[in-house]
């Protein structure tokens, strides 16, 4: 196998709070191959966004490693990190706050080119900005408009153009469509998939929307309270979810069918427990219908139970570790 574009090894990110350490990302390990999309799903506050930002070094990892093309990057000083910034970019959730309101569209898209000093002359930069606007489907007439003069979909296109400006290999997509109308969501998702084909991009796609993640991802990882509880190919995950939490998530997808309204059963009870100084044992145990004493005392480890299908749950303790 080739070297993965991104590999995380026991990545941890804890935040200090007045009440103790908040385990935003706890012991997350995964590999992401080139030209693939890994979808990260989970409910609000489970550490999805923090994971994406920690990989990019926007948050400093508490411990663990992040490997980009096989090279450790989590502790690189800013100077050595700067050239690597060209290779990895981020698309944000909120197209309102992710664009500087004082800059025009062309200034926003040109900013990474200027910062990295890729192109020098103004005419070269202008041409590149024009090209990028073409790629993401923004008309020339928007070059001199300000973000607040555009609608959400177009702003998100600006955000994408900015992320593409340096020809990155890897892009963290932090809920890039959840702030958009459904019709616009489809446009943006298709644009992102086209770009992936054309430019050979690798995506880490963070979302809480299962329909979106099913559409775009090759693999899906499910997170719960900072931990990865299940990871598998998209098809396999939707067909045969193993972890009780994943099962509950999939059951919560509304089915568009008359008379189906009251058929949703086994809805999860209880609230997400606090991510601050979590108790030992499985973090999902307080809400899990199958929880045993073992679940409340021993933390389950992520384990490959079928080929390419990982799960962290004591229900599968007896299953044989799948080795290739």
């Amino acid at each position: 196998m080739s070297v993965p574009v991104i590999e995380c090894i026991e990545l941890k990110k804890y935040f200090d709070t007045p009440f103790g350490k908040l385990h935003a990302v706890d012991n997350v390990s995964f590999k992401l191959e080139a030209h693939k999309t890994l979808g990260i799903v989970g409910e609000s506050g489970c550490g999805k966004s923090t994971l994406g930002r920690t990989i990019l070094g926007l948050h400093k990892a508490t411990s663990g490693k992040v490997l980009f093309d096989g090279r450790e990057i989590q502790d690189l000083p800013a100077k050595q990190m700067k050239p690597l910034r060209k290779e990895m970019q981020i698309i944000f959730q909120d197209p309102y706050s992710s664009l500087n309101p004082r800059d025009t569209v062309s200034q926003i898209i040109a900013q990474p080119i200027r910062i990295q000093g890729i192109l020098k002359t103004p005419s070269e930069i202008d041409a590149r900005v024009q090209e990028l606007m073409d790629i993401v489907g923004l008309g020339k007439r928007f070059a001199n408009t300000y973000p607040h003069e555009m609608d959400g979909g177009r702003r998100q296109r600006v955000g994408i153009a900015r992320a593409l400006a340096m020809n990155p290999k890897f892009i963290v997509c932090d809920e890039p469509v959840s702030a958009l109308d459904v019709s616009i969501q489809a446009q943006i998702l298709n644009l992102m998939m086209d770009l992936q084909d054309q430019m050979g991009l690798t995506y880490l796609f963070i979302t809480h929307n299962l329909a979106v993640v099913k559409h775009i991802s090759d693999d899906i990882a499910v997170m719960y309270l900072g931990q990865m509880v299940e990871k598998s190919e998209t098809e396999a995950l939707f067909k045969d979810p193993l972890h009780p939490y994943t099962q509950a998530l999939l059951k919560a997808i509304p089915i568009p069918e008359i008379g189906h309204r009251n058929s949703i059963k086994n809805v999860l009870k209880g609230e997400v427990t606090s991510p601050i100084e979590p108790k030992p044992g499985c973090r999902f145990a307080p809400r899990c219908p199958y929880a045993t004493d073992a679940c409340r005392s021993v933390e389950p480890q992520l384990k490959e139970v079928k080929k390419g299908h990982f799960v962290a749950c004591h229900l599968f303790d007896d299953a044989k570790e799948c080795t290739e």
Binding site: L58, K82, F92, P101, R102, Q107, Q116, N144, Y146
Partner: protein, 288 residues
């Protein structure tokens, strides 16, 4: 970065200001003061403000001495006109220094956050806990009297308040995602602060600056009044008030004219500051 094309915020501000009657009044007075500062020597030569003429002492306002003369026979009109220069120099000079220092400190605190923010805030607390007039007097006592010293002392007193306000304004900007985006692009701290943060708090900087100018003019005159600012025979409004005070019972015009100029200047700048605040207020703009 470059504001070559009309940025909507400036256009909107301009429209708001010219539709605000009080703002027009304030801007007219400020324009007049600026013209006075530029053309003071053409209006009346500086020598008339300092040359003594004992035969002409205590002349009441008349056609040759519009504002009368003082006990040394100096023309009060010339002194008031040339005093404008000194008063505005002190006001704008100290407010500018306070704005530069305060913005730097406030924006840095908001951007770096955490420990840096904590340390800066505690320093500002201590800084602000010292009575400002006392500190100003102490600085002048240490550095000696003179206009540059006055400007520095006033700026020193105004900086922490400025930094506080700017920190609060920059905090809401610093948490926005476009700042993170710049980090992800490899921008340096300096670039992010200058290019991303400062332009987004420029309205607060301008409002604070304007309010500070009027306060600094008054405070500068207070120092001169106490004999610690501009030194005789330099014409300065506060100094003129102090000199006039000895004879005002018999010659009230000695304090009337410089007092009027001082009050009117401060009033105009304050009204202009209020108009700026209204003009920048996003709640009035109909969009976030």
């Amino acid at each position: 970065m470059k504001k070559t094309r009309g940025n909507s915020i400036w256009k909107e501000l301009f429209l708001r200001l010219i539709h605000n009657k009080r703002a027009i009044f304030a801007m007219a007075i400020l324009l007049l003061l600026i013209l006075i500062v530029i053309f003071a020597d053409l209006i009346i030569p500086y020598s008339k403000a300092v040359d003594q003429n004992i035969l002409d002492r205590f002349t009441r306002p008349n056609s040759s001495h519009w504002f009368g003369t003082d006990k040394y026979g100096r023309d009060q009109f010339a002194r008031t006109i040339h005093g404008t220069r000194i008063s505005l120099l002190i006001g704008f000079g100290s407010a500018t220094i306070a704005a530069i220092l305060g913005t730097t400190i406030g924006v840095a605190a908001a951007y770096f956050g955490g420990k840096v923010d904590n340390i800066i805030c505690r320093i500002l607390d201590i800084w602000m806990a010292m009575p400002s007039l006392l500190v100003t007097l102490a600085i002048i006592a240490g550095l000696g009297v003179g206009i540059p010293q006055t400007i520095f002392a006033l700026a020193f007193g105004a900086t922490p308040g400025f930094a506080r306000t700017l920190r609060a304004a920059a905090l809401s900007v610093a948490s926005q995602e476009f700042i993170e985006s710049s980090v992800a692009q490899g921008a340096s701290h300096g670039r992010i602060m200058l290019h991303d943060l400062v332009p987004n708090v420029i309205s607060q900087i301008l409002i604070q600056f304007t309010m500070n100018v009027s306060y600094m003019i008054l405070l500068g005159s207070t120092l001169s009044f106490l004999g610690l600012g501009a030194q005789p025979p330099t014409p300065e409004w506060g100094a003129m008030l102090a000199e006039g005070l000895q004879d005002y019972q018999f010659y009230p015009y000695l304090v009337m004219f410089p007092g009027m100029f001082l009050a009117l200047t401060a009033l105009a700048i304050n009204i202009f500051g209020d108009a700026l605040r209204d003009g920048f207020d996003p709640k009035l703009k109909g969009r976030a």
